[in-house]
Point group: C2
Chain length 272, copies 2
Amino acid sequence: MDTLNNNAPIGVFDSGVGGLTVAREIIRQLPNESIVYFGDTARVPYGSKSKDTIIRFSRQIVNFLKTKNVKAIVFACNTASAFALDTIERELDIPVIGVVKPGAITAIHSTKNKRIGIIGTEGTIKSEMYTSYIQSIDKDIEVVGKACPLFVPLVEEGMLDDEVTKEMATRYLKELQNENIDSLILGCTHYPLLRKMVGKIMGPDVCLVNPAYETAIGLRDMLSETGLSADEGAVPSYEFYVSDDPLKFKQFANTIMPTDIGIVKEVNIENY
Amino acid sequence: MDTLNNNAPIGVFDSGVGGLTVAREIIRQLPNESIVYFGDTARVPYGSKSKDTIIRFSRQIVNFLKTKNVKAIVFACNTASAFALDTIERELDIPVIGVVKPGAITAIHSTKNKRIGIIGTEGTIKSEMYTSYIQSIDKDIEVVGKACPLFVPLVEEGMLDDEVTKEMATRYLKELQNENIDSLILGCTHYPLLRKMVGKIMGPDVCLVNPAYETAIGLRDMLSETGLSADEGAVPSYEFYVSDDPLKFKQFANTIMPTDIGIVKEVNIENY
């Protein structure tokens, strides 16, 4: 085990600010780990774009993160996890983890009636990544997906507790309410910010699964298994990079992160 | 005047599908002109991104359009017109036109009480491009801007005649209703698709200005002044390029264009 290597940072990326809900969980659960975060704010959102485009974007970001000598990479974006992780994992010599598998495994453990719901972007739902992964583990589980394309813009507008958001949530979730699911995966990194509203509509009998939380646990296990966990006394550092204006990102980040995130740097990601 | 040149196509670009409302007007009003359209669907939307990023994206697109030997370029996107047109015009040896100036001039002619409203994306409104252009022509005109960030996602979801869209329109336009404006510029290429709803809320005394229509007229004048109008007998051709999945673009385009748009080709725009 290379001691330099195990204190190297973890690369975390997302299409924009949503992946900060994953970074926040990593900071909480793995307080000795350093993080290099990249948010692709110049090309956000990913949810409605094609598989080939998401693979190209993810490959550029991974190339950038590698210049920061990361020891592992977290795809903190459901669309990138669904579309690009398998392809890019084969090209890399460091471990990677996405948000899909940890969330799926928790839902499998949580469901009693073998009926799981999943909400996400159009790309995530259409990919049926959650469904095929869950059914590869237990083929008797039924998975019901529902795309909620307006949730991301509504969250980005800060309309977390608004009548319009409630009306859209009621419409999107109506289908799922008739499906007798007992677990619901919040399959987009923005959605934990709507957790309370979704929980109220679905009622107390449906368990909400937040992949951000589960991903941090999965990351801890992966680092431990590969001998890459940071030393217990290690003092972590956090670096933030974006592809568009750093100021706007910083303002949003500071509303959801535990402390001020410091300097955010802009990167021309198309050069990687 | 070079006869080869004057029958060359016009390059038209937008962040995505919105600019098709401009292409549609050009086809209607200038039936002999050929068009090469580019929609930057891999990086849509532009409205919330920074000036530097929009200039970089626009420059790549203009470089691509030049490989198609276009004789003139239409910035069929309000954000790109506001942020990038002036910079890129200085770098080019062919005439360019955006949607801001033609829309502004029509509003100046339309207003009687010298109070004009403008709705658009965050980028367009914050740039104050409409305001400064209008006041450079008539400094006595008051311009009141209002960003409507959810209009683009609502239109892209096809929710043109929906209660949620009506509720958001009512909120966004409330401020403008108290401003005693008599003309309202639809300052985003998606907004003409909400024309009826906006018109009903603002009432019959407010004249709605559609820059797509005015841009086609401005283009006709520009081509005529520079001796670049296509020959009267010229048979036009239309080519469509996008940076993401062509199929999705084609489906949307065929719902708003007069005829089937034919083959749509994908371009890796980051290479230009």
